[in-house]
């Protein structure tokens, strides 16, 4: 039986970074907001590295002191180790000053259980209501979403009425699963499998770059991340095609340990004295996209509608920025429903533009790596650094020459591939 529970202006499904920051923004506007999260905090999540833009956003939220107090490692850049261990290049995290010059703009690496709890607490401190329950289905009124049915811990179903529903359920892809959005479509990187764990005793650089992300890659789509998550502890992930894993015949733990020693000589050297301190988590088939992710009374943000190859750590930023966009959308349209259609279209366009930029960067990195290296290390260093720092949402991004060159390169190399096939 379904009992009427309460009415809110906005209900947010999921208390990850996207959901909690959206709830924080809306509550600060004085709106009545509920965040529905089925898991008890703290809980483990992957996605431990933030872009420069994400760090700036947290400072803008007034959370710098809290981030510092937690001792999250400061990330000043990313170093990429290519197939030949001598061929490395660094991408600093930068911001653009008013005079157009670039200034260092460090961000953080985070331990997700603590980070997610900080953001949820910011939301509830601002007045959002945290409801520990499982999102079950939506309530529709004609084509409009007007509420959410939840199941509480005692097994009772309750309905929450709302004027807008935001899906921030991450991999749960709630609105897709209940049929409001379309199905999950695979996109490109779906045949990958990731293994990750926390490891102590990994060798880092000395000095200010000790908190930086290190990336190692050898063959196409075989790569590893090194993300310092505390003074001692490092998150190391191994990503390979699923066929590579299946052919090994190894358990996840044995495969992980073997890859630490063999994927890349630099990784092997740095982790020679390392001890794994967690289980090995795995995730397969993780790349997807869902079309038409916003409509009358609803929008999906962050991983709840799309997830791509995570190599450049765009994930958390995409969620945080989409939360900002949907906050503005809700503020504008809640009392002026006539503008909702256009606002939703604008949100979808902006989100798709950013995702297309990420896709272009990933495709260039993986399919024409030397071209990516030329742009990132020699000819368009600052532009690539800006893109990787997360400046991917503004319409002006399509005028960035490095991006234009990447698109042209991909187009031409695909055309050449076709010619080869035809010949």
């Amino acid at each position: 039986m379904t009992a009427d529970f309460d009415a809110f202006d906005v209900v947010v499904v999921g208390a990850g970074p996207a959901g909690s920051t959206l709830a924080w923004r809306l509550a600060n506007r004085g709106l009545r907001v509920a965040v529905v999260e089925r898991e008890h905090f703290p809980r483990h999540r992957v996605g431990e590295s933030l872009t420069g833009t994400a760090g700036q956003l947290l400072r803008d939220m007034g959370l710098e002191d809290e981030m510092t107090a937690h001792g999250f490692p400061v990330k000043r850049g990313v170093r990429v180790y290519g197939p030949n261990p001598r061929a490395t290049f660094d991408v600093p995290i930068i911001d653009i000053a008013e005079d157009g010059s670039h200034i260092p703009n460090p961000t953080w690496q985070v331990r997700r259980p603590e980070f997610d709890a900080i953001l949820l607490k910011a939301a509830t401190d601002a007045g959002a209501v945290h409801i520990c329950a499982d999102a079950r289905s939506v309530i529709m009124d004609d084509a409009r979403v007007t509420g959410l049915v939840i199941r509480t811990a005692d097994g009772e179903d309750r309905s929450l009425r709302c004027r807008f529903l935001a899906d921030a359920s991450g991999f749960g892809t709630f609105l897709s699963k209940v049929g409001v959005l379309g199905v999950r479509n695979k996109c490109g990187f779906d045949k990958q499998i990731a293994f990750y764990a926390h490891v102590d005793g990994v060798r880092r650089d000395e000095g200010p770059t000790s908190g930086n992300t290190l990336l190692y890659y050898t063959k196409q789509y075989h790569w590893s991340w090194h993300i310092p998550v505390s003074d001692m502890r490092t998150s190391i992930g191994i990503v390979v095609p699923q066929d590579t894993y299946r052919a090994s015949g190894l358990s996840p733990e044995a495969f992980y340990d073997h890859q630490l020693a063999t994927l890349h000589p630099e990784l092997a050297d740095r982790s020679a004295r390392a001890t794994r301190v967690t289980e090995v988590w795995t995730r397969a088939n993780y790349s997807y996209e869902i079309a038409d992710f916003a409509g009358p009374g609803y929008a999906a943000i962050g991983d709840s509608h799309r997830f791509l190859d995570p190599i450049f750590s765009f994930g958390v930023w995409l969620g945080l920025k989409e939360a900002e966009l949907v906050d503005a959308l809700i503020a504008q349209t809640l009392d002026d429903l006539a503008t909702e259609g256009a606002a939703i279209e604008a949100f979808v366009t902006t989100s798709n533009r950013a995702q297309a930029v990420v896709t272009t960067i990933l495709d260039t990195f993986w399919t024409v790596p030397l071209a990516f290296l030329k742009l990132a290390h020699f000819t368009h260093k600052r532009e690539v650094a800006e893109l990787l720092a997360g400046r991917i949402f503004d319409p002006s991004v399509d005028d960035v020459e490095a991006l234009r060159l990447m698109r042209q390169t991909l187009q031409n190399s695909r055309a050449e591939d076709k010619n080869h096939v035809a010949a």
Partner: protein, 87 residues
């Protein structure tokens, strides 16, 4: 007239000379068909330096989409790429 002999290949000689200069290799080590990537004689940053050198020397520019491992497999493959760019 086709003499049946290879014409002196200035592009290829330039490439072999640059590689020997940068790596301290001898002519015996570096042949037109030496598998550069397999023996990891040059890393990718040096390959880019070579591209910049060749672009300058031959007054041409290499399209980004040509920067594939196949086009850098051997000195001869690099030379063929340059000749194609100059054509």
């Amino acid at each position: 007239m086709d003499t049946g002999f290879d014409q002196p290949d200035r592009v290829l000689h330039g490439i072999l000379g640059w590689i020997m200069d940068k790596t301290g290799s001898s002519p015996e080590d570096i042949q037109p068909d030496t598998a550069l990537l397999d023996i990891q004689l040059l890393d990718s940053l040096q390959l880019m330096d070579l591209v910049f050198f060749l672009e300058k020397t031959h007054g041409t520019s290499i399209p980004l989409e040509w920067l594939t491992p196949e086009n850098f497999a051997t000195p001869r493959a690099i030379g063929d790429m340059i000749k194609k760019a100059c054509a």
